[in-house]
Amino acid sequence: MSEQQLSLDDATKHVAPQADHGETAKSIVQRIAQLRAWLFLAALIVTFEIWARVDFGGTFVFSSYNWQSVAVFAVAPLLIAVGQTFVIISGGIDLSTGFIMGLAAVVAAHLTNIAGLYMPLPFAMLFGMLCAILAAGIPGLVNGLLISRLKVPPFIGTLGMFGVARGAAFLLAGGTTVPVSNSYFAMLGNGRIFGVPYLVIVTAIFVLVMHYILSQTRFGQHNYAIGANVQAARRAGIDIKGHILRLYVLSAMCAGLGGALYAARFTAGAAQAGEPLLLDSVAAVVIGGASLFGGSGSIIGTVAGALVIAVIQYGLVFLDVEPFWQFIAVGVVIIISVLIDQAQRRFSGGKQDE
């Protein structure tokens, strides 16, 4: 710091710090504003609870069974959405994660089976999972190289990889599902401890680590900066190319973990495992407060977003809504979730739009 070294003429030191009364008030509002996806989730749950009581005298909330179900349901979309959160904050998008997840599921199934022939089953399981995550990293690396070195727009680069990973996954799987024969692996996918599924525990730990990376490390900080103004980030000396590369590998590895857990849960690897998750996972990120233009978003928000989507879809079945009306209801709820977000933003006192 060069302060002492400079001789300043005190005559110009006139702008006294103003009263800070506004500050604490604002930060509370802001904190609530950051929670808006969670608030919406709460509102949704309350609505479902009332509906359940009025409709058939049941309960939605006070059933640990319902919560287990929702949590397990949210695992796969959440894992993909967590990686997508990083990518979207940086201003990119990753369309390929669904089939990278499928690829990883197939690799996990095959390698767990093969490894099971040569080593104890628990090790075979770990080996299979690790390989699956590493294998997922390869298409992620290619994504990253295309986007960072060759300046391919993320939408197109990952759309290309969408096709490549899809083809590779189906070729590896031979067009069918690959059964896993490893009881430990099945246990990981379906067992629970103190009523909490292992799947959920693994996912929770992973999500915490990702939250730490995004909010507390340089990688996370630079991710926000790149999303807001990539030029500024570059001029500030951030290694954009390296960052983007790591980013897409990270996203692919999140999908890889998702694929490995899929294989564990369904005791089979399927190439199309992650195919339907694309829109849901991006929606989770956006409902969680991220902008597709980059620069904003958080893992905590994404968790809320993923839960919102899981709760609606589970809840509507629970409430026995007609299938075609479910499509409509999910659509309406997604829109409302963001309307509430908008309303809250207006009170949160941040930079205001014109």
């Binding site: 710091m1 060069s2 302060e3 070294q5 400079l6 001789s7 300043l8 003429d9 110009t12 030191k13 006139h14 702008v15 006294a16 710090p17 103003q18 800070d20 506004g22 500050e23 604002k26 930060s27 730490y212 507390q216 490390t217 340089r218 900080q221 630079h222 926000y224 900066a225 999303g227 807001a228 103004n229 030029q231 500024a232 980030a233 570059r234 001029r235 500030a236 000396g237 951030i238 290694d239 620069g295 904003s296 941040g350 930079k351």
Partner: protein, 248 residues
Amino acid sequence: MNSQTPLLEVRNLSRHFGAVRALDDCSMVVRPGEVVALAGDNGAGKTTMIKAISGVYPPTSGEILIEGKPVTFSSPQEARALGIETIYQDLALADNLTIGANIFLGREPMRKAFGFLPVIDRKTMSKAAAETMALLDFHVKRLDAPVSNFSGGQRQAVAIGRAVYWNAKILIMDEPTAALGVPEQRKVISLIKSLKAQGRGVIFISHNLQDIFAVSDRIVVLRRGIVAGERNIADTNHDEVVKLMIGG
């Protein structure tokens, strides 16, 4: 002029954008403790020159020497690593980050949480931000607000603060005072003087001749991409400089 090795030497630098020759065969030097003004009309190539020096644009041809050694920057990072800090005309702030985060962008301080977990040290950042801004006579409350919330001049001050904080060997300023209030302008001028006293080199771009004459040792005038002339401030006056600019 003295005979020490120049801090910075630019030799026959050119930079073309397609058919546009933004900069054509330009040379200049900056010696320790020297403030060199870069002047010229709009579109003369001033910004292009300093972007080439700070690693933003690779030059089409020509050489850059730092303390006598030829360098080629493939990124602004490499220029910063050699002690060149730049304030850009278009500011280049990450609008969604705080003042502190902008000052430390790319060099965030870390601390250990729970004694082992490395996390970004936001306290240090906001403390340094407050101090740096105060140094420039900006006393900002709302240190946790993103810089998009601030006024034009306040944002300019953040950009200046960042360059100052890192204590550069060579400081490049592209119209730093343009958006500043009168007292802040004076502050920046006095800051440049004290940097000079410390033996640093400064390149100062401005359209304000008064400021240029108040602070510089030498002035390099660009006109449509070429060096139209170079004068010691002591040996010239406003009129001559304007004539050089417009090629009258």
